[in-house]
């Protein structure tokens, strides 16, 4: 939602009915997982 639609954490929190802190945590954790996935993929391609 943040990555594709450019929604802020507050907008996501309101849309999902979740606390702002939870939305921020999910953005952070999701991006970290993606980053790790891409890093592993890059290493695998070497």
């Amino acid at each position: 939602m943040a990555g594709i639609y450019g929604m802020t954490a507050r907008q996501i929190a309101e849309a999902e009915g979740i606390p702002l802190g939870t939305a921020k945590t999910r953005i952070r954790d999701g991006m970290e997982k993606l980053r790790s996935a891409y890093l592993r993929e890059d290493v695998g391609d070497d």
């Binding site: 939602m1 943040a2 990555g3 594709i4 639609y5 450019g6 929604m7 802020t8 954490a9 907008q11 996501i12 849309a15 999902e16 921020k24 945590t25 999910r26 953005i27 952070r28 954790d29 999701g30 991006m31 970290e32 997982k33 993606l34 980053r35 996935a37 891409y38 890093l39 592993r40 993929e41 695998g44 391609d45």
Partner: protein, 229 residues
């Protein structure tokens, strides 16, 4: 007069993803940028997150989704359509990527119609995100399939055949080691275009290929995954 609070690296880490995605606003953004000015490690962290965001957008298919796709996806997610950061074509993979970006937002909105997940097997050491081109018998590009061996596991298939495949239901099948064919689910093509995602497919490590077939079993396109590294 209050003492000015310097943002720590730990505090910055909490909002680095938002900064990288360009969705951080106001005072937080100002403090974050101020922190970046004096921290090489966090600058590198944000650079990697920004690249990740770009890579994620780069996975989106280069064609327009069918009319109403955005509304249907967002409807299934219980959300109103929002302003896209790029063109409408991105919406084709939004459902899958939303789940990846916002892991834990509460499950899937795009459960396949006839999805029949198989038992999970052992994990593998290969890259968690794999993709392969879907090719017709005449070696024409018909789309792409993505397999993600993370938590949660997911599969996404995007088809664009310039209407060489007529509208109708198609089946997504995976070829596992030993030649086993597993039907994962079905979705509808609209004038040769369609996309579909499903959580929890079979152990991606055992998948060697994929097939797009008609309901009567005619193979419309196939994809082959490279051998596990």
């Amino acid at each position: 007069m209050t003492e000015r609070h310097e943002m720590t690296c730990e505090e910055f880490g909490d909002i680095a993803a938002e900064l990288a995605l360009g969705v951080l606003t106001g005072r937080e953004r100002a403090h974050a940028i101020e922190h970046l000015d004096q921290c090489d490690a966090c600058r590198e962290h944000v650079r990697q997150l920004s690249l990740t965001g770009e890579e994620m957008l780069g996975l989106l298919p280069g064609q327009e989704p069918p009319a109403g796709f955005e509304t249907r996806v967002m409807g299934q997610l219980g959300l109103a359509p929002q302003r896209p950061k790029r063109s409408r074509r991105m919406l084709a993979t939004a459902a899958v990527l939303l789940a990846a970006v916002a892991c834990g937002l509460g499950g899937w909105g795009l459960r396949g119609v006839t999805s029949a997940p198989a038992t999970r097997g052992s994990s593998t050491a290969q890259a968690p995100l794999r993709s392969a081109a879907l090719l017709t018998a005449s070696h024409q590009m018909a789309g792409k399939i993505f397999l993600y061996d993370g938590n949660p596991r997911w599969l996404y298939m995007a088809v664009d055949t310039d209407a060489s495949m007529s509208s109708g239901t198609v089946l997504c099948q995976l070829e596992a080691t030993g030649g086993r064919i597993i039907t994962i689910g079905s979705f509808r093509l609209d004038s040769g275009y369609g996309s579909w995602g499903s959580p929890d497919p079979v152990d991606p490590g055992s998948v060697t290929g994929a097939r797009l077939t008609s309901p009567n079993g005619t193979v419309l396109a196939t994809a082959s995954f490279t051998a596990a590294k």
